[in-house]
């Protein structure tokens, strides 16, 4: 692709709309591939060739319906667009013969109930109550993640074009501030404020960083977006760099996500060739280079200062803040770190406007949130809901409720730093404030459902074990406090607890919260405190009988 100018985008959209070829799309995110999507894709390609069909077999990202993978979508003229679930290679002939050639939908493989739940901000301006609404994942599963042209045709790069031709950096920041967008990595810090601080900080060299070190075990929102719509993350970063005045940026991505890394690298190459990265982007005088840096399996590197140390090639140990990275970050330069999901929100915000974004979600938590809904629920998957949607809607309606014959006991949000919310509080709306009030947190988007067969004490031990292993060891409260609590929880989960153990847990938790250096240590006690608060009876049952009676 030749270097694009601002006026070239429209032509690409028109050209793309003009081509009306039939297509079959296979969801090829990591979860689709794990379920066998690759074999389905190859069978479709072979089958279409053998039959001499004029049809494009496309690869797309994750549609979010992980429970029904592999997913195949078919668009053939004269037949309604149809989504098929649980497709294996042996069903491919049937789909090609019946749907593509005879123009008859294979109804026993169709999953209309999934298709109709997937409304995006490209289809509708506003969400429908109780339904998913996709802003961040608008393109996931809809476009070929390696095709810049498909991204542009679905509205991509309109936001950057607008920023570069109509808005000054200060106006971009003002618009993001007005939108009320808050950081989706978990803490919820206002994105516009972060940008303004970085813009106003003194420094010859400024940086933008994308935090793709999705360390929360049980969460894969960022992986899906990086794999399914890499250009939207890159466009978001480009807008951020323009706003704060950076000409260099890094995407820090987990090495455990090889597909996400490959897709982002491919997207960076395509964007460079098209003049959407590099020198004089879209013919303007703004330039930006982006580079991928790999994480290496350290949860603490999700913390900003540890992440910076890791990009610099060092051990990922946090340092005290202030100074915040917005003042002194990478190699001492002002650095703006945004999470993947935050960045993917930016192109729609800047093309549709701050007022549109504000109209979705709640007053203090505008927009949507993506959750990885997993655990003991019928339809696990990636869901995106307007903020303010009750947890119950997510778990029971979108997730399909408990497994047959079971009862939901609790929902965990925020991963090892979050808390456990009991089933009787499921009517709580999903917002930063409401989840924090329950002693949990929004977190990055892990949402794990537990049922009556799961032991709360054991799960708490599991989470704490995670934090103990991942503690960098720099500060004593986290290193020692975590280890001591884990010893107690191991004792309790074997039913050998003592009556003093529960008070000890509370004491150590308070110390860790108050005295730890970084977010890992400060939040590691959250699962302990929230389960002590909501499930005291399970802890009491874990105290050894002889002592309990004494």
């Amino acid at each position: 692709m030749a270097k694009l100018q601002k006026d070239d985008l429209e032509g690409i959209i028109q050209r793309h709309r003009g081509s009306s070829r039939d297509w079959i799309a296979v969801g090829m995110g990591s979860c689709g591939l794990a379920a066998g999507a690759d074999a389905v894709y190859r069978a479709l390609e072979d089958g279409a060739r053998e039959r001499g069909l004029e049809i494009d077999v496309r690869r797309t990202g994750c549609l979010g319906a992980c429970h029904a993978e592999p997913l195949v979508e078919v668009q053939v003229e004269g037949v309604p667009k149809t989504l098929y679930g649980h497709v294996s290679a042996e069903w491919v002939d049937l789909i090609l013969d019946s749907h593509v050639q005879l123009k008859r939908v294979v109804s026993r493989l169709a999953v209309p109930e999934i298709a109709e739940r997937l409304t995006t901000c490209n289809d509708r301006e506003q969400p429908e109550p109780g339904r998913q609404y996709k802003i961040v994942t608008r393109n996931c599963g809809a476009i070929d993640p390696e095709s810049l042209e498909e991204y542009i045709a679905s509205g991509g790069y309109q936001a950057l074009r607008r920023c570069l031709s109509e808005l000054t950096p200060d106006q971009v920041i003002a618009e993001v501030e007005r939108s009320g967008l808050r950081g989706r990595g978990g803490a919820g810090f206002p994105t516009g404020v972060k940008w303004r601080l970085t813009r106003e900080a003194q420094g010859a060299e400024k940086f933008v960083v994308c935090n793709g070190d999705e360390g929360d075990p049980g969460a894969y929102m960022d992986r899906s977006v990086l794999e399914g719509d890499p250009f939207s993350v890159i466009e978001g970063m480009t807008i951020a760099a323009y706003a704060i005045g950076a000409s260099e940026g890094f995407l820090y991505i987990r090495a455990e996500y090889p597909l996400a890394v490959a897709r982002i690298e491919s997207a960076i190459r395509s964007a460079k060739l098209a003049g959407l990265l590099g020198k004089n982007i879209l013919g303007s005088d703004f330039s930006l280079n982006l580079e991928v840096r790999l994480g290496a399996g350290a949860f603490v590197c999700g913390e900003e200062t540890a992440l910076i140390a890791s990009i610099e090639g060092k051990r990922g140990t946090p340092r005290p803040r202030p100074p915040y990275p917005s003042v002194s970050g990478l190699w001492g330069g002002p650095t703006c770190i945004n999470n993947v999901e935050t960045l993917a929100n930016l192109p729609p915000i800047l093309s549709k406007g701050a007022e549109w974004f504000r109209s979705i979600g709640t007053e203090k938590s505008p927009g949507t949130k993506v959750f990885a809904l997993t655990g003991k629920v019928r339809r696990p998957g990636l869901v995106e809901i307007p903020m303010g949607t009750p947890l119950r809607t997510v778990v029971e309606e979108i997730g399909g409720g408990p497994l047959p014959g079971r009862k939901i006991k609790a929902v965990q949000t925020g991963g090892p730093s979050g808390g456990v919310i009991p089933a009787n509080l499921l009517d709580t709306p999903v917002t930063y404030e409401d989840l924090a009030a329950l002693g949990s947190m929004m977190g990055s988007g892990g949402m794990i459902v537990m049922d009556d067969q799961d032991s709360i004490v054991d799960i708490t031990r599991f989470y704490l074990g995670f934090c103990v292993e991942e503690s960098c060891g720099k500060c004593a409260p986290c290193r020692i406090g975590g280890r001591q609590m884990l010893t107690i929880l191991e004792r309790l989960s074997e039913g050998r607890g003592t009556p003093e153990d529960l008070e000890q847990l509370r004491q150590i938790s308070k110390t860790m919260q108050a005295a730890s250096l970084c977010g890992l240590g400060k939040s590691a006690p959250n699962p302990v405190l929230s389960t002590l608060r909501y499930f005291p009876e399970e802890y009491e049952r874990a105290i050894a009988p002889a002592k309990a009676n004494a």
Partner: protein
């Protein structure tokens, strides 16, 4: 001869990254990607070529879980210990692998063919529980599937 190859290997990775700042971790990724682990001789060679103290290299290698200091087994079996996989039964699956292979998690069979390990989370939580065999993800595994999965690891 072998020594020459070694320094060439390192030189290649160093050359690719030398102009970039903070490249040490990326160079180590590059080496592990090629060899499966980071041998001590390579670390020594790297220290020489990059003019970085060996302690700095080992500080990084031992801090990050991802880096391996020993050669991997022919088949590396990793049970995912993300929360969703844990709840859905990874411990039982690992136990079954361990029983059939006669090793515990963290060990390698004496013939060097199999090692059993855990991985944090590969982000396939919707397919839980998952097991990786040499990086390939197997979804919705149950202990009953274990003999079949092992049988696929031929030669």
């Amino acid at each position: 001869m072998a020594e020459k190859d070694l320094s060439a290997d390192v030189a290649l990775a160093v050359r690719k990254w030398q102009k970039k700042r903070g490249a040490l971790i990326m160079i180590l990724h590059e080496i592990q990607g090629r060899l499966g682990y980071v041998p001590r001789e390579i670390a020594l060679e790297l220290s020489k070529q990059m003019n970085v103290p060996l302690a700095r290299i080992y500080e990084v290698l031992t801090f990050y879980n991802f880096f391996e200091l020993e050669p991997p087994a022919k088949y590396v079996i990793s049970g995912c210990m993300g929360t969703a996989c844990y709840l859905k039964g990874t411990p039982g699956i690992l136990q079954e692998f361990g029983r059939l292979l006669g090793i515990e998690v963290g060990q390698t069979t004496p013939d060097g063919r199999f090692s059993l390990t855990t991985v944090r989370c590969v982000g396939c939580c919707g397919q839980a529980p998952v097991v990786l065999i040499n990086g390939e993800v197997h979804s919705k595994v149950s202990p009953q599937d274990v003999p079949h999965l092992l049988a696929q690891c031929k030669d």
